[in-house]
Amino acid sequence: MLFGKFISAIKSSLRNPWLNISLLVTLLFLYTPIIVLIIFSFNDSRRNIVWKGFTLKYYKKMFSNEILLEAFLNSIAIALITTILSLVLGVLTAILLWRFQFPLKSLYQGIIMIPIIVPEICIGIAFLVFFNWIGWPSDLIWPLRLAKIIFAHSLFCFPFVAIVIRAKLVSLNRECEEAAKDLGANAWHVYRDVWFPHLKPSLIAGGFLAFTLSLDDFVITFFTSGPETITLPIKIYSMVRFSVTPEVNAASTVLIVVTILSVCTAIFFQKENLKKGSFE
């Protein structure tokens, strides 16, 4: 069936060549740099410009590079904890905005979205100044020294989660809650049997969104990480400063793959969302 759809899409695009061409140009424009980057990560040469043959040695080199691995581990740890914090904050914010009426609600709603709108560099500098001002200690042991970055990431990730959850809450049938209570459910049962199943796809989608945003972030991380902490995007940046070796390409490719996977998962669950939404 999918194949049939594909064929008919090609047929209809042949009938309209201009549409076809503009589509192709857009795709090329968007993806050529990324594809070149990935291809040259397999290039058997110190330099990036000429193709010398296929090799996996830069991947091997990358995986034996301890600093790079540490950066990758840091990035994953930060992204995971940020995801959890963003989910908690995002869900609470969404429920607050959906369920309660309070003075200056629309102002509050606007303020929450500010981290999305304000340029990242401003947030980064703001955090730098803020942490200096409160005198945040800089010589902490490993997981604790990630805390600054995690706080900063959670701040700009949770509004995205809040938006996704809030949108899903709108379609919750309040009578289902009442029905559960009517059948003997207490507050916990209502959360477990009505709220959670309804929000589940959005929780997963929102979680992956936060994970991706945190994993990829460079600007805010740059200003909040001390000299002792390094994340994958920061490490890649510092490697580029010396020379763009295929090792940089390999590290970037890993980052791209992880990101694409989690974005695809998020989109998949969002789609699930829409399908289920048709009944409610």
């Binding site: 049938n173 009578e175 009442e178 009517d182 059948l183 003997g184 459910a185 049997d193 409610e280």
Partner: protein, 370 residues
């Protein structure tokens, strides 16, 4: 049989200063199919939710089977509800939906299976246990909602406009289905509806509500034949209403001078009207007859007669309705309905002809002017 099961005493609810329900007193008997009927926004759903425990009353008491429900939360009341949207849990199969309440109660799985399959028999859904809610039709969802409430064996089942979301044909079938199930199981049903036909044909007793107050509580036929006020008369079926003043009361009959018409009519006075009371005379359209003055009449002479002009004939199939206007254009024309098996219908009435409208002594109901 007619033991009192529910009594509401001075029940009130206000939302931010707006009174949705005002001092409702009501008693409902065991095994009754009780209806709460009223236009939208009259407070009937709020009343139902207070009985279920889903809204907290501002004042008054709810007593179910001798127990004051004041401190009893919704999840511990002997009451279950069929919601207007059915509120079927979308993430559970039909079977899980129906057994949800029993599982929370901790009923063992053997007993549970038996009760679920018995209940599926009652609502005729056997074989659909594994279906998901989005694979069920509106009528089936309605049965699931009913089964989910009935399986709890509550003392009362509350139904909030259960037929409103169904299409016309399905509604007709479900109407009789609901009554049949209620009579079979014998559980008290309290059903809220805005549809007077539904109420009249299904319920043992009906409370008519308007603007948060109970207007009248009676059996369907009494509501129709002996409405207590103009609101009930107009809400249940259609009604002709004439204003007048009592001139004489004799042997249970009231003589009434009709305002704007200067003509006297007679009706039974069930309530104790006194001379010079202002009253409204309510006559149902099918209780009026009329004839062309110029044509020879074979009608028996009835006691009340008014002269008017035939304005309009509307054919509805089984019945036709006629409008007869008066010289005084301030008066609303009378609506008359007749079965189309009358001989006169064939003759064909002429619009614009002068006619005489007649009704019997017992056809009219008098209600006080508020």
């Amino acid at each position: 049989m007619s033991a009192r099961l529910i009594s509401l005493q001075g029940l009130s609810k206000s939302f931010q200063g707006n009174d949705a329900v005002k001092f409702v007193d009501l008693t409902i008997d065991k095994g009754e199919f009780f209806g709460i009927l009223g236009p939208s926004g009259c407070g009937k759903t709020t009343l139902l939710k207070m009985i279920a425990g889903l809204e907290e009353p501002s004042a008054g008491r709810i007593i179910i089977d001798g127990l004051d429900m004041d401190a009893v939360p919704a999840n511990r009341r002997p009451v279950n509800t069929v919601f207007q949207s059915y509120a079927i849990f979308p993430h559970m199969s039909l079977e899980d939906n129906i057994s949800y309440g029993l599982k929370l109660k901790g009923i063992g799985s053997g007993n549970l299976k038996k009760r679920v399959s018995d209940m599926l028999d009652v609502v005729e859904l056997t074989g659909l246990e594994r279906r998901w809610p989005d694979q069920l039709s509106g009528g089936q969802l309605q049965r699931v909602a009913l089964a989910r409430a009935l399986i709890m064996q509550p003392k009362v089942v509350l139904l909030d406009e259960p037929l409103a979301a169904l299409d016309a044909k399905l509604r007709e079938t479900m109407k009789y289905e609901l009554v049949k199930i209620q009579k079979e199981i014998g559980i008290t049903f309290i059903m809220v509806t805005h549809d007077q036909q539904e109420a009249l044909s299904m319920m043992d007793k009906i409370a008519v509500m308007n603007e948060g107050r109970i207007q009248q509580v009676d059996q369907p036929n009494l509501l129709y034949e002996k409405p207590k006020n103009l609101f009930v008369a107009n809400f249940i079926g259609s009604a002709n209403c004439l204003m007048g003043r009592v001139t004489k009361v004799k042997k249970g009959r009231a003589y009434i001078m009709l305002a704007d018409l200067n003509q006297e009519i007679v009706a039974f006075s069930y309530e104790n009207f006194k001379v010079s009371d202002d009253v409204q005379v309510i006559i149902r359209p099918e209780k009026l007859t009329f004839q062309d003055i110029e044509l020879p009449s074979n009608h028996e002479k009835t006691i009340n007669r008014l002269n008017g002009e035939l304005l309009e004939i509307v054919y509805h199939g089984g019945v036709s309705t006629f409008r007869v206007g008066f010289k005084n254009k301030n008066l609303k024309p009378l609506i008359i309905s007749q079965l189309n098996n009358h001989d006169q219908t064939k003759d064909g009435y002429r619009i614009g002809s002068n006619v005489e409208v007649c009704w019997r002594l017992d056809a009219a109901t008098l209600v006080p002017v508020i």
